[in-house]
Subunit: 380 residues, 2 copies
Amino acid sequence: MTDLGPNKELVGIPGSRDALATPALILDLNAFDRNLDALTMFCGQAGLRMRPHAKSHKCSEIAKRQIAAGAVGVCCATLKEAEVMIGAGVPGVLVTSPIVGARRVNSIASLAKTGERVMLVTDNPINHLELAETARREGMVLDLLVDLDVGMHRTGTASPQAAVALAQQIADHPHTRFRGIQAYSGRVQHIESYDERQNIYNRQMNILRDALAQLSRAGLKPDIVTGGGTGTHDIDRDLGLFTELQTGSYALMDVEYNLVTLRKDAPSPFETSLFMQCSIVSNNAAGMVTLNGGFKCFATDGPLPKIQDKTFPGAAYDWFGDEHGKMSLALGTNETPALGSPVTLVTPHCDPTVNLHDHLHCVRGNKLTAIWRIDARGVL
Amino acid sequence: MTDLGPNKELVGIPGSRDALATPALILDLNAFDRNLDALTMFCGQAGLRMRPHAKSHKCSEIAKRQIAAGAVGVCCATLKEAEVMIGAGVPGVLVTSPIVGARRVNSIASLAKTGERVMLVTDNPINHLELAETARREGMVLDLLVDLDVGMHRTGTASPQAAVALAQQIADHPHTRFRGIQAYSGRVQHIESYDERQNIYNRQMNILRDALAQLSRAGLKPDIVTGGGTGTHDIDRDLGLFTELQTGSYALMDVEYNLVTLRKDAPSPFETSLFMQCSIVSNNAAGMVTLNGGFKCFATDGPLPKIQDKTFPGAAYDWFGDEHGKMSLALGTNETPALGSPVTLVTPHCDPTVNLHDHLHCVRGNKLTAIWRIDARGVL
């Protein structure tokens, strides 16, 4: 599984970015490095630990750089992500979605037996017993966090009372250890207005505040209070409830997050580091050309990809089917762009876009400097 | 690359379908076989050859079964699809999107040198010269079809005149051979009303009729006239312009195509054979549960996934983020479904959904009988 795709001979060659066989997912390493530094500085000043979410990048090379930048570990959404990260030597893995069902729960045993500790969340006493029974059978102790629903009803215990009861059940079982609490609010992250986001989020976080007070009264003070995202990190700091943040998109950014006012005093602390490079593959119609990237190249759950290319000022992207995109040229553009010309786009929603691709083409300026495999790609 | 995922031990075990680690893409082989038979019978009676489009399934095992069912070859949208199909021994590969740019065109030489003939389309005299120069350098003759734009302006020559000129340029060059013409109309395929689809399509196909007449007058009668899809196959037969059909979705079907009246006298000749199996991973909220499949599991460019499960009558799916789906239970459902329960869904748009996954879990009834790799997955 060391296949690096059709561009591997271009690594290290000056000007190679423009010569890439496309569609090619691009990581601008200078912008990426600055994003990592910006979060490290922010969390350092706030006294928050970083456990960035690997579901955004699904790439162990990125995870290693996040650890090098001071993260205590990474979050994973799936067991495959956890397996890949642990296999690549990434420490501090927390699986943030409940793992349910006999075949899934059994795979956790093999993960935990790699020696590297893995932490899981659970939101249900039946699921806890399933996990604990596996741990008992394997002769090990599983580190568990209670997932708390703060209003989205996606996962999590339905109330602070249920969270405390589940924490007690975990603490009481000889094969599970209660490590902490998770409270994540997904949809709020993308609300563009800071004030509106803060208002909704603060109300949700009262549920977490209540749960923490009840846990404390029950003698179950959590080591770890984890949650937050790129959209709420500034608010998370002011709340003072979390011990660590699960920010993911900050490292890459996308059209969606570029619309969000991220901080009160520094609205855009992170830069776009992730891009898609497509090529013009047909140019026979007036006022437009066809790019080789469509529904299979970009996530379609959010806004449109955005053309970000000095060569084509005023050009706009629209969907053109599974494999193609339409690039409308700015009014008054008389010259037809040449076949094969590269076109750079900002991706609409980074997480599901990255998941469509097998490789990240790392560039500094116009040079391809490395190709990283998106080794945790997929839904498993 | 023989990894078959976490379910490989379940192959051949009775009842194993319900035990699959999920999300798992399912191929119901009985329905799939009937779909292949239905198209074979249709094309046999119509005197049309079949060159099904592999962009729908991206799976060489499916392509082999399409060949066994009488197809003369398969269509491919990308070079990787073509490489994988040829590598697996699938004959008659036609790449239906123009291949543009030095690195891409150079890869064609290695494809053509595998011995198995590959056919390409082109829509541009400059692109033809790029292809021809590669063929000359490699000492070979490339088989080319002219791609004709019939109104979508995605790819294709802008007029029948331009198509004839390009065909002549191909025929005149010692290293390229003119094999035929491609006319594909993408968006029309999904128009639900038969009559509306037929009206729009017939007007578009007048452009093809004109091009064929002009080619004939120029002494450039094409061997191959290729196009058509699952949505137009019945109309394509009546038109009498094509020598072969590029139908792809007929083998799998999806929510989108299930809404289309496909034939005048047999509106639904094909069955859904492709399904997604998810599991219930959280059940703490009233009236709903959470499934482990979201934007990374289903294509989001079309309609919603549809829950198709006798166990949950009246239940409906909605998006719940990257990794999760919300299953609302029918009004009056009092029992909370158990954690881990499998849920079967029809996929919204099959092509980009298949592209999200690495494996097809082939079932007959409730038994997993094989796992096929989606070996041409990706955008390259």
